[in-house]
Symmetry: C3
Subunit: 270 residues, 3 copies
């Protein structure tokens, strides 16, 4: 008879919100989870999604979710419609669970995932009571994630639903000289990330990629930031799988006046 | 004979400071705790209390502490008087422990709590040596919280004390037309939280609440932010149990020029 | 036969980066670690090192590393040369492990440490595949730290190396009237930290230390911030072991126009 205790991996919940960290909002969500599920691990993805910016939250989730262990519960709350009639969802894919308001926040992470089940969060047995009108992160999303991490079945949380609100993914389009995309995210360093997927650009890359913005050639493609002199713009295949534009040692968004939504054209050299 | 190991809930310490996260201060406090109490969980409430703002720290603690599991140790350091003669305390209530400088920081969280014991932190056996004059978070508060989380008795930390420094709680007052309160906190979204407790306003709410600021009617009460058009002000019963003023999709503090300390009058509908 | 399970201290990794917390970068590193090493604890030192500022990162690490338990793995990524030919290292000292790019980031933490082994991270068996050119934090540093925390031998990660890139430590120099140093770090409160080590100043302190900046006497030494009136400058022996200049209740860097690199002279009382 063995006394060896093989401890399994603890359950894991990630948190993505626009709550910031200046107030107690995120801490309280974690308290609610710890009370229900004291052994569940918590990892912050980010709480600095700009307030109400569903697209930025969706891109963050899409870029991050697949680096976590199987079974991870991704809890996301960017929820400008809190208290209104918008629904709250739990979605199960092959490897993960996602819990979020049904406002498009999950749609980009779920683009390439096989969806196993979608449930509407309606069973208030798993909510914190009383449920406030302005903080469902604390009262609905956190306790549901905690109960799910303890093994409560998905079907417990509410009725099945066939679909969910989807943000449109901006599809790049072919131009006479190459392909046109747009800036979809700007990170803390001022690097701007486009919707141009690295994989699809490999053929073009063989001929040397030029980046054209507002009709002017901006820079060409390099292997890494430092391949151009300090202060110079450069395009690289970014770590999220998309073409990025950076300034070596500087802030590309500020230096080049680039913003989310701006068009970017790629052409083969010259 | 069973070999099943039922692991208890791990001890839990929350951290609330004005240390920010740009430096190593909070990380070092966690290192000190991990060295003494490697199995104790840590949850950040916030480290972005504005420097030295005891009132903001007190409101954050008050809004958050009760959402944590029984036995949680709430460690709070907003400590402009560090190194001076101000005392350091551990307070035990029915469900929680609080560790903080004796400067008012705990007084609002403790307003509704039954206090079981208060001890002054004097036993330097539980301090990190040498104790600096400017970082008691690392040298006194963190190690005491860690030892407490390991089961050291409260009486070990120092002598009993009957009272502690209290911040005055601003009590709303009746006006000919309703009730007057004040703004007591401004959150990351620019929502301003008043000292007007939701529970006490329910009777008034039946007649329709109007919010009056500087003699002018500002907005009325609604169920949730989105009940008014984008850009419009609205009052709601907030998630912390107080009336809040928000701008749907905007920053009420900036848009309406509201600040902590500003007077707010509520009246029944005209 | 006993069923008592004495659980050892969990492995611990600290994280120090300039990635900020607005994006998913740090969260993803933690996901990568959790996938490989689900029981390893993670503590953030700071992620707000200013972008690319190796000196600030080095000072943060130096100030913090020794407060952590023996065996802690300190993972640091301030890496403006990511993707270039700069090497990546794991360094073992008597009590700790350090993992970082070989760009000087570790040099101040290692000043007083006995180095047991230094290995270049070259064995891509322990990397995340494919390795990106711009996010080695995710693809190299995080998985190596995770594997190390699970007990993989240092020698597994790559070949031994004798030395590493060192930042010069600015050594104070004697002046006719005392000693001259410089400002080496500015913290979130606006307190500026000098390179003047407290221990070496104790003899001078007996005669009363005066702080002279740009030829003018600025303030004298006190025991704690509050020893001078609100708004007045004061020098104290800081918690990191260096002389600091503060303004009681204010921001010394802003109020006094002090910056990293500024010269500070200390003299005995007039």
């Amino acid at each position: 008879m063995s006394t060896t205790v093989v401890s399994k991996s603890p359950a894991l919940i990630t948190l993505t919100t626009d709550f910031g960290t200046a107030d107690w909002f995120v801490g309280v969500m974690k308290g609610v989870i710890a009370k229900i599920a004291p052994h569940t691990r918590l990892i912050d993805l980010t709480h600095e999604v700009s307030p109400g910016n569903i697209q930025a939250g969706a891109f963050s989730l899409m870029s991050a979710y697949r680096f976590f262990p199987e079974g991870t519960i991704h809890l996301a709350v960017v929820d400008p419609g809190v208290g209104s009639q918008r629904k709250a969802l739990v979605v199960q894919t092959t490897d993960y669970f996602f819990i979020a308001p049904d406002n498009g926040l999950l749609s980009w992470a779920l683009r390439n995932e096989e969806i196993k089940a979608t449930r509407v969060l309606e069973n208030d047995y798993y909510f914190l009571q009383p449920v406030s009108n302005s903080f469902h992160g604390r009262d609905i999303f956190a306790p549901v994630a905690a109960h799910l991490s303890c093994g409560v079945a998905l079907s417990e949380f509410g009725p099945s639903q066939d679909n969910f609100v989807r943000l449109e993914w901006p599809v790049p389009r072919a131009t006479p000289r190459g392909v046109q995309g747009e800036i979809i995210y700007c990170d803390r360093f001022g690097n701007v990330i486009t919707n141009l997927e690295t994989a699809s650009l490999q053929p073009l890359a063989r001929y040397g990629i030029q980046v054209v913005v507002k009709g002017k050639r901006l820079c060409s493609l390099a292997q890494y930031y430092g391949a151009v002199p300090t202060g110079k713009p450069v395009a690289i295949f970014g770590s999220s799988g998309f073409l990025e534009i950076a300034v070596n040692g500087g802030n590309a968004a500020k230096r080049l006046g680039l913003r989310v939504g701006d068009r970017i054209e790629l052409t083969g050299s010259p």
